[in-house]
């Protein structure tokens, strides 16, 4: 029997028996076969001692059962690692940061409690997936859209708490959260925002309630277990259209991003935007590199190549959702603004009116039409998994140039090609900033994983040296990334620890999440 750290087998057996009495024997998993189902399928530690392996899993089906589990865990100091649908792939999936933790699997808590298509929100439990919510809305013919992340089997609760992103105007998922129910480490149930008011009629309509606004404290954290969450939805739009903007030269990127930023921050462009470079794609297709590696072609040579081949250097696809007259005007306004860049060209794209048979739409567009799917997995090839490295950088052309140079230099030092699984250019996933989405491959091969872990750490360190931090990371690198957020002698991290000690003195909730360890498991900082 694998044991939680610091827990003897006698106490662990007692705890498991009490878990069984609380939630039913069939929902307490202790066999090796079951425990294997909670390991990270994309682990960077396959066949290594450091692989995160839980000691057991428990699967309650309601908030009262969660409370009971938490109370038992407090008695025996059992670490509980909470998962919702368990599909946080590339970030650890179902696996804990601390081996020996008991997985608190909330998948059975899969009730859609309300979907309101007049005020446009949903109230859901953690085990509900984007697929479930979409199907419910379709079956009930409700006039709202969800904003799924690329893989649709994740949880709106889990993804929002991890501050995941989508493509539509509701793409910043944590920003769409309105009201939570949380089980604290002492077993008490708290409702945030207007939910604290008994009989409140606006729990999912006004975020802040009265007094300090605490919802952020429960995201990417281990301060409580979220058992219900309100999320704002988008009114089903009447129409969708998109169009492409292209500029010719390398240095056009500066006004190009400045214009994009103006349009996004003015809410003219409201969806996620991926930066693209047809010319760099061409360079890669000819055996060249996407990043600016040392010894690569000069800016002048690249501009000349673009001119000869008639390939634009930079491009974006802008997407618009809403009433036809408004989105037509938004696209026209965007073209007008980008026209200030000499040589800018435009191409009208798709133009849809709803309802329509969107099954025929190309798979890559489905998430932008609010339809959950798994087509993104088609981008992964050759590996058995991947980690996402995703630093936030400023939304400027200068920042992109610097990042392409810095990562190119790093890739050269590490002897790597410049291709990666997703993109060599950043996304405007979130408001006001860019994020890079790099895939670092994992394998069932210890040597290759060891090398890629070192690459990952170098990416984190090099990014931090340039003022770029990750927005989210795999359980194996949570300490590394948290350590980079070190302003004023790690003041924020120390505040996290103070909160942890106050709210969870026995350190039972998700030890190690986001690098936050309870006092009894804390290591001295290097």
């Amino acid at each position: 029997m694998r044991l939680p750290p610091g827990v003897n087998s006698n106490d662990f057996s007692k705890a498991l028996k009490e878990f069984e009495e609380a939630i039913g024997k069939e929902w307490v998993f202790t066999s090796d076969e079951d425990i294997d189902l909670y390991r990270d399928p994309y682990s960077p530690f396959w066949h290594e001692e450091e692989d995160r392996v839980p000691s057991a899993a428990v699967a309650p089906d309601g908030v009262e059962q969660v409370q009971q589990i938490v109370r038992i865990a407090n008695i025996y100091k059992i670490p509980l690692w909470t998962i919702s649908t368990g599909k946080n792939l590339a970030y650890g999936a179902t696996a804990p940061a601390l081996s020996g933790s008991v997985i608190l699997d909330l998948k059975r808590m899969n009730r859609i409690l309300e979907v309101n298509d007049k005020n446009h929100y949903a109230l859901v439990e953690p085990g509900v997936s984007y697929f479930d919510l979409y199907q419910y809305i379709q079956e009930h013919k409700l006039n709202v859209w969800i904003d799924p992340p690329d893989p649709g089997w994740g949880s709106p609760v889990g993804n929002s708490l991890e501050r995941g992103g989508g493509r539509t105007p509701m793409r910043d998922h944590f920003a769409a959260v309105c009201g939570m129910e949380v089980v604290l480490a002492n077993g008490e149930v708290v409702r945030t925002g207007m939910g604290a008011l008994p009989g409140s009629k606006t729990w999912q309509q006004y975020k802040y309630g009265f007094g300090p606004y605490l919802d952020g404290m429960f995201s990417q954290s281990n301060f409580g277990i979220v058992t219900k969450m309100g999320i704002w939805l988008m009114p089903a739009p009447e129409a969708y259209r998109d169009g492409r903007v292209m500029v010719a030269k390398h240095d056009d990127l500066i006004p190009f991003v400045e214009t994009l930023c103006y349009l996004m921050n003015s809410n003219v462009v409201r969806g996620a935007v991926m930066m693209e470079s047809p010319l760099l794609d061409y360079r890669v297709s000819q055996g060249g590199t996407a990043f600016d590696m040392p010894g690569g072609p000069s800016v002048e040579e690249m501009d000349r190549l673009g001119q000869e081949k008639n390939i634009p250097y930079w491009s974006v696809e802008l997407r618009f959702w809403g009433p036809p007259k408004i989105i037509d005007a938004q696209w026209e306004h965007a073209k007008e603004k980008f026209s200030a860049i000499p040589g800018a060209t435009f191409k009208d794209g798709r133009n849809y009116r709803f309802p329509m048979d969107i099954k025929e739409t190309e798979a890559a567009l489905l998430v932008a039409l609010g339809i959950p799917n798994l087509s993104v997995f088609g981008l992964i090839s050759g590996a058995e998994g991947h980690l996402d490295f995703s630093p936030i950088i400023p939304m400027t052309g200068e920042a992109i140039f610097e990042a392409m140079r810095v990562y190119g230099q790093l890739y050269a030092e590490l002897g790597l090609g410049s291709k990666n699984q997703f993109s060599a250019l950043p996304w405007a996933y979130y408001p006001r900033a860019f994020v890079f989405l790099f895939g670092v491959s994992t394998y069932h091969d210890a040597e290759r994983n060891k090398k890629n872990r070192e690459i990952f750490k170098r990416l984190v360190q090099t990014s931090a040296e340039h003022g770029w931090g990750e927005y989210r990371t795999h359980v194996a690198f949570m300490d590394t990334v948290a350590n980079a957020y070190s302003y004023n002698n790690h003041a924020l991290h120390r505040l996290h620890e103070t909160l942890k000690d106050a709210l969870d003195p026995n350190g039972i909730l998700s030890p190690g999440k986001s690098g936050i360890w309870p006092r009894r498991l804390r290591k001295e900082k290097a």
Binding site: Y38, K87, L89, K107, L374, G378
Partner: protein, 116 residues
Amino acid sequence: MKIAGIGLVFVLGILFVRPVLAAPDESAVQKGETVYQKWCFPCHGTGTGKPATDLLAARDKGIRPAALEERTDMTPAFIKQFVRHGVLYMPPFRRTEISDAELDALCAYLTRNNKH
């Protein structure tokens, strides 16, 4: 002799083959189809944007259907192995996602057209 031969085959059929030849349990097949639609179809189904179907089509080059629901060569043990252990970037599925009973139903659905 001929009659005896048929009789022998019949007897052997009762002893060894009949459990396999039994008509698929329609209710299990229906339940299994629901499980398939929920958990398998988004990657393994027919139509565009099904990454596992695309991967298997590229690998098998027409030797067998790429969409799982069209295959007739999978055994329950084979299906259970992949569901509970995963492969490549397909993760395993937990009992809180697909219960043992649902997995049995899924096997009934995916083997419904198998020739025995």
